[in-house]
């Protein structure tokens, strides 16, 4: 088994890691159809099956990115075709919100994609997966876990710096020292 360590910079061995949340009725079935039809596509997308795209909790997406995913793909039924009437619309709304959120976090919008792929659209599934892998390969790694570590380090250094300055100033201020604590654990 390869013991590749994650490098924060793109190199020849780096491949994007993409987590996909697919609804059971349409997009998961489309992925099955792509399989039955032997439509070859990139292997970087890991599919998690949910009953409906409406089940996609925004936290799932953030969790995946925080755990090291470079992008997240959500697949649901076409509008009007949802097995649960309108779960896909709920998903769409959450997706719009997530788009704004990740933009605020400095994450490129291409790293989150929502596609309506029906059970008959094996070809579309293949296309979307390949497009996404190509797009993310160009963008390079997101490396959120590494960023978190770096941010934590920066915060710690900053705290140390402040503590040292306060100590040098004499007297010190206990509050600053303790205040860094919640920040360090914020991403845990």
């Amino acid at each position: 088994m390869a013991n590749a360590t994650q490098s924060p910079l793109p190199n020849s061995t780096w491949k994007p890691r993409i987590v996909a949340f697919f609804c059971n009725w349409c997009t998961y079935t489309a992925a099955d159809l792509a399989g039955v039809s032997r439509m070859k596509h990139f292997s970087n997308v890991r599919i998690i099956r949910l009953m409906c795209s409406g089940r996609v909790d925004p936290q799932f997406v953030l969790e995946a990115l925080a755990k090291g995913a470079d992008a997240v793909l959500i697949g649901g039924c076409h509008p009007n075709d949802c097995h649960y009437v309108e779960g896909n619309y709920k998903c769409l709304r959450r997706y719009q919100m997530l788009k704004r959120m990740i933009a605020d976090m400095g994450i490129e919008p291409e790293r989150l994609r929502l596609e309506w792929i029906s059970a008959a659209e094996g070809e579309k599934l293949k296309r979307v997966v390949n497009e996404m892998v190509e797009t993310i390969t160009k963008l390079g790694p997101l490396g959120l876990p590494q960023k978190f570590e770096q941010w934590d380090r920066e915060m710690e250094e900053f705290a140390n710096h402040v503590a040292a300055r306060d100590a040098a100033a004499g007297g010190g201020c206990a509050e600053h020292g303790t205040n860094t604590q919640p920040l360090e654990t914020a991403h845990a």
């Binding site: 079935t29 399989g35 032997r38 995913a69 075709d81 649960y84 009437v85 709920k90 008959a120």
Partner: protein
């Protein structure tokens, strides 16, 4: 076997199994490496590979390990869960565990079949296995919910498929609602003259079955009707049917046709739908002599007693301008009702069979065949009517100018096997073209030229049929017709030249003929899309309804309780349609006979720490969530919950849990698929 109930705090012991699926998986995924890797993961007690996990020995392996190695969780990496999740849940249960202590990993459809790089595919399998292995410790024992089933069946479409399914179920004592869009049942088969390969008369076979439908006590036959709305789910569908007005009271009409004779129009002068416009009818008419129900109808667009044109709501306004000789002729029977309006029927059924059939390809879409431009170019269905003894020419094959053709070209594959129109082979055209060749020759002694690409005659007796027709001396030319145009050497007689390459002799043929017959293919109904939405079905990219599995569940759909029969699922001949209709009836019957349906226990429930914010309540499309005023918390009605999980994803306090898809389970999967070193 005694059920094994894991004791609280008992350590999780996972059995991991990876299937070779012959070479389907093992040729791309290094299954041994995956098994070795799984063995290193926490809680995994047993990790094995096996040639065919879904086979009996494979399933027994699981059962044996549960007993011998005290396993309390099972993970199988094999094909899609949509195919075999059920199988392995049963095996898990047979081993003595709750079936929901099982999790499946899809490494065939999502891995070995779509990737070529062995290292990458193996890594993906490892990651997916890890996700399941991390997930399964959080699984809880669940119970399958049983819901009663309504024994009534709705059959949509009154062609041979719908007719056969309806009779099968009605004879078995089930109540059947047969809904047909046209004014009579019979479908396309009723228009055919003879059927291949036996050349027996279509109506001789069909009309007794049609009559049986009309008189069967267990069948509600609603013709000239359409399904407007479908609610509910397997066992308990609520269906709304719209019965369009035919301005004849079905119960009172005896089918005597005295009204037709008495109509103020002395001559039939309006295009007759049943004969594809080759014949004429009056404003009041019987669709065709053997129509079931044998009831006349009025075409309000041409009847003098109506104002021309539809109202915006689709109704027609009575003008009362006609002498109404038809009403006079009907007399005491009083079956004519100009004021009839559409009628809405609401029924409850447990299962539905969709048998909505096909439409023939519109040959005008291939402009170089001249259909609709040159009068002597016909489509095959029109020629069926010309040959049919009860057709517009009483069985005489004559051209529009009344002459008998001496040379006839039959053009195969019209609209089939063509990227520009329909890609599929319509399956029946070669055979019906051979049949028409025989019948035309029999009726007219004409020279018949069949232009084909490949002669496709699969099925019992079909190749023999082909040989028989070939012996009769047809011209069989292997080459697709490239052009049809008026014979430049022949003035205005209407003679046409058919141009094609004979690909077996490399010669370009330009054959002058009197009649061109286009073997138009089959294509999905234009309404298929709205039907698909209504019944929550899937369509293939071509537009045919998609069966649940092409081999193992050919009449099932992805919606439980809804089955397919006939050409709505894809082009097929009459024997296959009838076979499929029988299978659909049997599937429906099996469900009804069982008396209940089992539902996935993936419903949601609300924890005590619900803060009562009510944000979930409007999200539920099934109104399964209500607010308990006493506890100030939301409650989910389990019987109404369908298990989509939308409310779960929205709960701000994380107080809703979806069985089988708990947050902790999903997070474990996310963590699992992102395992280091597996990309």
């Amino acid at each position: 076997m005694k059920p094994i109930v894991p004791k609280k705090n008992e350590p999780v012991r996972i059995g991991f199994y990876i299937c070779h699926c012959g070479t389907n998986i093992a040729s791309v995924v290094d299954v041994e490496a995956v098994a070795k890797y799984a063995a290193t993961l926490p809680n995994v007690a047993v990790s094995r590979t096996y040639k065919y996990m879904c086979s009996d020995p494979g399933q027994e392996l699981i059962q044996q390990d549960i007993q011998e190695s005290r396993l309390n969780r099972i993970v199988v990496a094999a094909c899609s869960p949509l195919l075999h999740e059920h199988t392995f849940r049963k095996a898990t249960e047979a081993g003595g565990l709750n079936p929901f202590y099982f999790q499946m990993v899809n490494i065939r459809e999502h891995d070995s079949w779509v990737h070529t790089d062995r290292t990458e595919a193996t890594r993906k399998a490892m990651a997916l296995a890890r996700a399941a292995i991390q997930r399964v410790p959080h699984h809880k024992p669940l119970e399958v919910k049983k819901v009663g089933i309504n024994p009534n069946v709705l059959i949509v479409g009154g062609g041979i498929g719908g007719i056969h399914a309806a009779l099968t179920l009605a004879n078995a004592g089930k109540m059947v609602y047969l809904v047909e869009k046209e004014a009579t049942i019979g479908g396309h088969m009723a228009k055919f003259d003879k059927t291949f390969p036996t050349l027996d008369c279509a109506m001789c076979v069909l009309s007794p079955k049609m009559a049986a439908i009309g008189s069967h006590p267990n069948i509600h036959l609603w013709t000239y009707s359409e399904v407007a709305k479908v609610d509910g789910y397997v066992g308990n569908f609520k269906v709304t049917v719209r019965r369009k007005p035919r301005y004849i009271l079905e119960d009172l009409c005896t089918g005597c046709q005295e009204c037709v004779n008495a109509c103020v129009y002395k001559d039939a002068k309006f295009a007759d739908e049943f004969n594809l416009g080759l014949g004429k009818r009056k404003p009041i008419f019987l669709p065709f002599p053997q129509a079931i129900p044998p009831v006349t109808m009025i075409d309000p667009e041409v009847c003098l007693n109506f104002k021309r044109g539809k109202n915006p709501d689709g109704s027609h306004t009575v003008s009362d301008k006609c002498k109404k000789t038809c009403v006079e002729a009907c007399g005491d029977r009083k079956a004519i009702d100009f004021k009839q309006t559409q009628e809405i029927k609401e029924i409850t059924v447990g299962t539905i069979i969709v048998a909505t059939g096909f439409q023939i390809f519109d040959a005008r879409r291939i402009p170089y065949y001249g259909y609709g431009v040159y009068p002597n170019v016909y489509n095959a269905l029109e020629v069926e009517r010309l040959i049919n003894a009860s057709g517009p020419t009483e069985g005489e094959v004559i051209l529009r100018n009344g002459q008998v053709p001496k040379k006839v070209a039959i053009v195969h594959c019209v609209g089939s096997r063509d990227e520009n129109t329909n890609r599929w082979c319509s399956r029946v055209c070669c055979l019906y073209s051979l049949k028409l060749a025989h019948l035309i020759k029999e009726h007219t002694h004409a020279e018949v030229y069949n232009f084909y690409i490949d002669m496709r005659t699969p099925g019992k007796g079909m190749e023999e049929f082909y040989n028989r027709i070939a012996e009769e001396g047809m011209h069989l030319i292997r080459g697709r017709v490239a052009d049809v145009y008026p014979d430049p050497n022949d003035g205005a007689t209407g003679r046409l030249v058919v141009q094609a390459e004979d690909t077996l002799t490399n010669k370009i043929l330009k054959i002058p003929v009197d009649m061109v017959v286009l073997a138009t293919g089959l294509e999905p109904h234009p309404e298929a899309e709205s039907l698909r939405r209504m019944f929550n079905l899937s369509c293939s990219s071509e537009g045919w309804f998609l069966e649940r599995h092409p081999k193992l569940a050919p009449v099932n759909t992805f919606t439980d309780g809804i089955f397919l029969a006939g050409c709505c699922q894809g082009p097929k001949d009459i024997p296959d349609t009838v076979a499929q209709a029988g299978a659909a009836a049997a599937e429906a019957f099996a469900l009804i006979d069982k008396g209940h349906v089992e539902q996935e226990p993936n419903t949601a429930y609300i924890l005590d720490d619900c803060c009562g914010c009510k944000s979930c309540i409007p999200l539920c499309p099934y109104t399964a969530i209500s607010f308990a005023e006493d506890t100030k918390k939301a409650i989910i009605n389990e019987t109404l919950c369908k298990g989509c999980g939308t409310c779960v994803a929205s709960c701000p306090s994380g107080s809703i849990v979806q069985n089988l898809f708990e947050d902790v389970e999903i997070y474990s999967e996310i963590d699992g698929v992102l395992a280091e070193g597996l990309f």
